[in-house]
């Protein structure tokens, strides 16, 4: 938090402050070395938070339409929230998103941790090829194969309606297909740093590989598991294309991404207020995850996976 110093206050007084700065050599020097950095920071923060400002404002404003939206708050009501919960199954969407993204992220984490254990600790034929193959597959994101996945699940539905097209379970399983990928590499790299002496002594004491994995490697790798899990969750929470293709038309079946999109798509002018309310609530899960896991996530992001 920039502590307001005398110079800083002058700076915030805008043009007047600058004039006075110009007349004082010390102020000029301060501004040229340090002060302008605060200006840049303030501008950048304003740019970053500007849309959030409008959303918060719109969500608490008494009008639901974009037409009547204000730049400054005149009256604060929760009418848009009430309306959102009346006209959409909002909590169902949010629940679906949390369930599908959370479940798939957890299982993805386990599957990639298992594979990473094999790649890190065991030596076998095909290890090198396997690692390469995973890297190669990762270059073809699933969303590119959306046509094939759609047709596949439509066919699956003929025989197994519970996991075919139009089911959340089907989408969940499709999401598992992306489990072995960047996360496997990320975890293998981390497992490699866990000393092998630990598992060797455990093996001497009669532990199986399964026990070593569950009781030694996993607890010692908690940080990377958290990072990988969070990144998967955020990615899947955001996933739009497969969800929109595979979940079908039924309103209660949607995730937050597809539900809110269908809600607002044709009604920008009319439903802006309720949408803003929904956007605000729906942003909280990933925002909170980010704020709490910031340090871990940042290190995870800079080790390879990228959002945009």
């Amino acid at each position: 938090m920039p502590v307001p110093t005398a110079e800083h206050a002058k700076l915030r007084n805008g043009a007047a402050g600058r004039v006075r700065n110009a007349s004082s050599p010390r102020g000029v020097r301060w501004f040229r070395e340090l002060g302008w950095r605060y200006v840049v920071a303030a501008l950048a923060v304003a740019f970053a938070l500007m849309p959030a400002y409008f959303v918060v404002l719109a969500s608490f404003s008494p009008t639901a339409t974009l037409q009547g939206s204000q730049l400054l708050p005149r009256e604060v009501t929760t009418a848009n929230y009430t309306r959102l919960f009346q006209v959409t199954p909002y909590w169902t969407w949010l629940g679906n998103s949390l369930k599908i993204a959370g479940g798939a992220a957890a299982v993805n984490m386990l599957l990639s941790a298992m594979a990473a254990y094999a790649f890190s600790r065991l030596r076998f034929t095909g290890r090198r090829v396997g690692l390469l193959a995973i890297l190669l597959m990762q270059m073809f994101p699933q969303l590119l194969a959306n046509v094939a996945i759609f047709l596949f699940l439509v066919n699956v539905r003929t025989y197994f309606p519970t996991i075919g097209f139009g089911t959340q379970l089907g989408l969940f399983l499709v999401y598992l297909g992306g489990a072995l990928g960047t996360n496997t590499w990320l975890m293998k790299g981390f497992f490699d740093t866990v000393p092998t002496d630990l598992d060797e002594s455990a093996r001497v004491d009669g532990a199986t590989h399964g026990q070593i994995f569950v009781r030694i490697i996993l607890p010692l790798s908690a940080p990377i598991l958290v990072v990988a899990g969070l990144l998967s969750f955020i990615f899947l929470f955001n996933e739009f294309i497969l969800a929109s293709i595979l979940l079908g038309q039924e309103d209660g079946n949607q995730t937050l991404a597809t539900g809110l999109y269908r809600f607002i798509d044709q009604n920008y002018g009319q439903q802006w207020g309720p949408f803003a309310a929904g956007a605000l609530i729906g942003s909280l899960p990933t925002l909170l995850l980010f704020l709490f896991g910031q340090r871990w996530i940042v290190s995870g992001l800079t080790t390879g996976s990228v959002k945009g």
Binding site: M1, V3, P51, R215
Partner: protein, 560 residues
């Protein structure tokens, strides 16, 4: 660690360290069994048995469903997969596989197979009008061309639709009051629980719902031409003669048993009109007569490089495709550059230990990146709305941010880049801050002492060192934006549309959104074949770039 290894064991028997489950009269049965199955703890054994029980149970269930349906290919795949999993987990060897199998199965079924299937679909004419297999298409053609005898059985009927693929069906009630579901594949009797709900909320056999009046009138011709093929067995059950070939729609609320006016000869593969003798031969997915008349529906057929040819040579497709192609690259490169430059500039400006509140600033700058991108894209769409978006209102403008057609949609393109800059600069700021802090300050200071200007020091020392660290991330950012579907699709929907094209293509469409719209925006008919061909082209482009990227960053070296 010995306590760890023994915890969870069902026995307190002390055992010598060494080979697990070794011979010994005192070893309890459970331990010996566990050892035999390659596991040395009872908990592990239990988990393994439960897992295998579930896998085999599901396998058996799948077989019991697929066998009566005569779905041979999936049947074989299910059996092979189940046996393979059993073999891996019951074997004392195959240790690496025990850890890899679950992830690998998911990878094979939901990623490798779809990629191969995509490549295959790219060689077919799969799409609206050519959705069925050849066998199904013949059944529907025969069933569709019928006449109704005087004494035919008549049904009360109700047109149904399947939201998944828009296919039609009939809910049929015969004079005895028995209820049937008639699909394009045939007739099935319905049981008590197959029809759930009432009115327009009715769901039949878990798939179909009644068409609304407006849907039925929109697809009137299709509904009235719909017919349900009936096999000889089904005809016998309905107490019809073997001459009955189909139940065809008469009005929106009635249907009747009819006989065929066309005949399919399995030996020669042609369809003949029994009245006129006109012969229709199968040509690239459509039964076509010598005079060019065709029978509907068509079927999906391999058309070789037809789709690729269309992309590259058909002027109406090539023009928009080329534009989309160029814009995809421009979008990915400019997104990467703008976020990088702004992130770096900010990082350099704020990378001064004397600045107070750097942690808070960092937290605030990462907010756009932390918000779900589907949400922020939709929010920006509202903010940039031409008539009443807050941005225009704030300055009393009327700028068509997202819809201007001028200069090939230059303004919407700019808006997309701006939104993507907003989304991504926080991330670039973070990684550049990290990378800057890793560069020793004395290097630049030494350069300054030697007389280099600030810009020279940055250009020749800081930037090259920085690029070594963030280079791979820039490549990843390029690759990510190359397929950044959410921002493009949710912000502009690919629009504004490029005029005069037969396929849906917009000025801001990138390849992935273009392919999605080809396949799923049914306004002008779905073209799965063309969409898959475009996807395959993207595959190759991404592969080439990733290869070049990896070669540069030498990631492949790490494998050993």
């Amino acid at each position: 660690m010995s306590r760890n290894a023994d915890a969870g064991r069902g026995t307190n028997t002390p055992r010598p360290a060494g080979r697990p489950g070794g011979p010994g009269a005192a070893t309890p049965f459970a331990d010996r069994l566990a050892a035999r199955l390659g596991s040395n703890s009872v908990t592990g054994l239990f988990a393994k048995l439960v897992f295998l029980g579930v896998v085999n149970g599901l396998g058996l269930y799948a077989v019991s469903t697929l066998l009566p349906a005569r779905a041979w290919t999936p049947l074989v795949m299910v059996i092979v997969a189940t046996l393979a999993i059993d073999a891996v987990y019951l074997s004392k060897r195959a240790l690496p596989l025990k850890f890899m199998v679950p992830g690998t199965v998911a990878l094979l079924v939901f990623q490798v197979y779809p990629v191969l299937y995509t490549a295959y679909i790219g060689f077919t004419n799969y799409g609206t009008g050519n959705v069925l297999t050849q066998e199904q298409a013949v059944g529907r053609i025969i069933a569709g061309a019928t006449r109704v005898p005087e004494d035919a059985t008549r049904f009360r009927s109700r047109p149904l639709v399947d939201d998944a693929d828009g296919s039609l069906a009939l809910l049929l009630t015969d004079p005895d009051g028995d209820v049937f579901l008639g699909t394009g594949d045939g007739l099935e009797p319905l049981a008590e629980g197959d029809v759930v709900g009432e009115g327009n909320d009715t769901v039949v056999a878990g798939r179909f719902r009644p068409m609304t009046l407006s849907e039925a009138s929109q697809r009137e011709a299709e509904v009235l031409a719909f017919a349900v093929p009936i096999t000889d067995d089904a005809a016998a059950e309905l107490e019809e003669g073997a001459a009955a070939d189909a139940i065809s729609v008469q009005t929106f609320t009635s249907a009747a048993v009819a006989v065929a006016a066309l005949e399919h000869d399995p030996a020669s593969g042609v369809i003949t009109d029994t009245a006129t003798g006109q012969v229709y031969e199968p040509v690239e997915g459509t039964y076509t007569a010598a005079d060019g008349t065709t029978l509907r529906p068509g079927y999906r057929d391999v058309v070789g490089f037809g789709n690729y040819e269309r992309v590259l040579t058909s002027p109406a497709i090539r023009g928009p495709f080329f534009r989309v192609f160029v814009w995809t690259f421009a979008f990915a490169i400019l997104s990467m550059l703008t976020t990088f430059v702004m992130g770096l500039a900010l990082a350099m400006a704020l990378n001064d230990p004397r600045i107070k509140g750097r942690r808070l600033t960092r937290s605030l700058l990462i907010v756009p990146y932390a918000l779900p991108s589907f949400m922020t894209a939709l929010i920006w769409r509202g903010l940039l709305n031409q008539s009443f978006g807050p941005i225009n209102r704030m300055f009393d403008w009327s700028v068509p941010w997202l819809s201007s057609q001028a200069f090939a949609g230059a303004l919407p393109k700019f808006s997309i880049l701006l939104v993507n800059l907003w989304l991504g600069f926080g991330y670039m700021f973070l990684i550049n801050t990290g990378a800057l802090q890793a560069i020793p300050a004395d290097l630049t200071e030494a350069a300054r002492v030697d007389g280099a200007s600030g810009w020279q020091a940055f250009r020749n020392i800081t930037l090259p060192l920085l690029l070594v660290a963030v280079g791979p991330l820039l490549i990843a950012s390029f690759a990510f934006n190359f397929n950044n579907f959410n921002v493009v699709y949710l912000l502009t929907g690919g629009g504004p549309p490029i005029g005069g094209t037969p396929t849906p293509a917009g000025h801001t469409d990138i390849l992935i959104s273009y392919s999605y719209r080809l396949a799923f925006e049914s306004g002008r008919g779905q073209d799965f074949g063309l969409a898959a061909a475009v996807s395959t082209i993207i595959f190759f482009l991404v592969a080439v770039f990733s290869y070049l990227g990896f070669k540069r960053t030498a990631v492949l070296e790490e494998i050993n």
